[in-house]
Amino acid sequence: MIKVESLEFKYEDGTIALKNINIDLDKGRVVGVIGANGSGKSTLFLNILAILKPSKGVIKYNGEPIKYDKKSLREYRKEVTMVFQDPDKQLFYSKVYDDMAFVLRNLHFSEEEIEKRIHVILEKVKATDLEQKPTHFLSYGQKKRISIGGALIMDSKVLLLDEPTSGLDPKMSKEVKHIIKELSYEKKLVVSSHDMDFIYECCDYIYVISNGRVLGEGKPEEVFLKANILKEAGLDKPWLVKIHENLKLPLYRNEEDLLKIRY
């Protein structure tokens, strides 16, 4: 679907944020991008979204390089969209309903269709009670939920999520995990995070990024056993991997499996 080929990106001030990046999003249903602060995750996402234009290399969508003229970009962004790191920046309108409707109205959907879709999506992100609320009254976690909903409503084929769990309490994190799991049956997801436990449980293919380069890639059970790569990237191991290595337990993919077997 989306392939990034020898991508390099340089900011105006000369910072080379990405170097020779090769990524193939077909390798997993939920692809994780992990890396320390400033490693280039958000920059990579903005390149994939075609908001930033690579200095070198190409990004291919369905085998074709992305075109950067206005019309093609509009078509492209119907298929590929993103949930931003900071929900405050993503919410635009003052009422949850209108904010979610915004993109559909831009696409000239009928009001009935819009209402139908909003109800389905609010149900999905467990926010039906927030429909008529002004967005600036919402708590951080609620804003995050609405901003995920605002991206889902477009029904894109690919959804990028930049740090979907940052700033969330454990319960909300779990809910987001659940939402991601459900969504993975409908569309391609790309998730960035420095929450290793979250990535380990959600993703089925992982790219490790450090200083703008891909340090390693593979299935989570493989990548997280490579201690040297994680160390170089400045990342920690998920706790399930730690107990596997230190307590000689089998390597479980999630907490539920572990609990089921132990008790």
Binding site: L46, L49, I51, L73, R74, R77, K78, T81, M82, F84, D86, D88, K89, Q90, F92, Y93, S94, K95, D98, A101, F102, V103, R105, N106, L107, E111, I114, P134, H136, F137, G150, A151
Partner: protein, 227 residues
């Protein structure tokens, strides 16, 4: 969070038809400007207070507080109109300054009272609309009135930026205060200068982010509200 905005969303009339409210307000504004009658003005004044506090349920003390801001300007202006200076004694009440009289005349009293009631009626009318109607509903009215899109766009963006601006300003101010940035006069001046500078930079960055978000949401130059 602006208190005015809070009430606009939470009052009992928030979801009522914005066109009706708009028409009521336009009519009462029209009456106070065309008909010079103190009693009619006072009636509009009372009616609007009734609508805002009782019908819409906005707490009376908060309402008075919000009204007190324009009121202070109003009182200052009324005083300047009330007082006049003349060489001849035409005053109801006056003081002598050298060979001039300073005081209030019959005409100035009448004029001031008329003006005062007219302004009271107008302020409470516009406040009624502003305090009880969420922005989105107001935009619906503007669209119906066929206001140009660029003006509506400006309103939406300015409104959005007021929140970004206030939020950022509050965050920076609190950080500075925590770091003892406002302990003495020199300090405060420096901190204020820094606040303005970082506010400006932050707003520029926020603007960039906002453009990205608008692009992702396929914004094409028109804010659609849907009717």
């Amino acid at each position: 969070m602006l208190i005015i905005d809070k009430y606009a969303y939470t009052n009992k009339l928030a979801d009522s038809n914005p066109f009706n409210k708009f028409i009521i307000v336009v009519i009462s504004l029209g009456i106070t400007t065309i008909i010079n009658n103190i009693y009619i003005n006072l009636m509009i004044f009372a009616f609007m207070i009734f609508l805002t506090t009782i019908a819409a349920g906005i707490p009376f003390d908060k309402y008075i507080k919000i009204l007190s801001i324009p009121m202070s300007f109003l009182i200052i202006s009324i005083i300047t109109i009330l007082i006049s200076i003349s060489k001849t004694d035409i005053f109801l009440w006056e003081i002598n300054v050298f060979d001039y009289f300073v005081g209030i005349t019959r005409v100035s009293v009448d004029e001031s009272i008329l003006l005062l009631t007219r302004v009271l009626a107008s302020i409470t009318s516009t406040f009624f609309l502003g305090l009880t109607t969420p922005l989105n509903n107001l935009i619906r009215v503007f669209k119906r009135l066929h206001l140009p899109n660029s003006i509506i766009e400006l309103i939406v963006l300015i409104y959005r930026f007021i929140f970004i601006f206030l939020g950022e300003a509050r965050d920076i101010y609190l950080t500075q205060e925590m770091k003892f940035g406002y302990t003495d006069f020199k300090n405060s001046l420096k901190s204020t200068a820094l606040l303005v500078r970082s506010l400006f930079l932050k707003i520029l960055l926020d603007y960039k982010d906002m453009v990205i978000v608008l692009e992702c949401k396929l914004y094409d130059g028109e804010f659609r509200i849907g009717d």
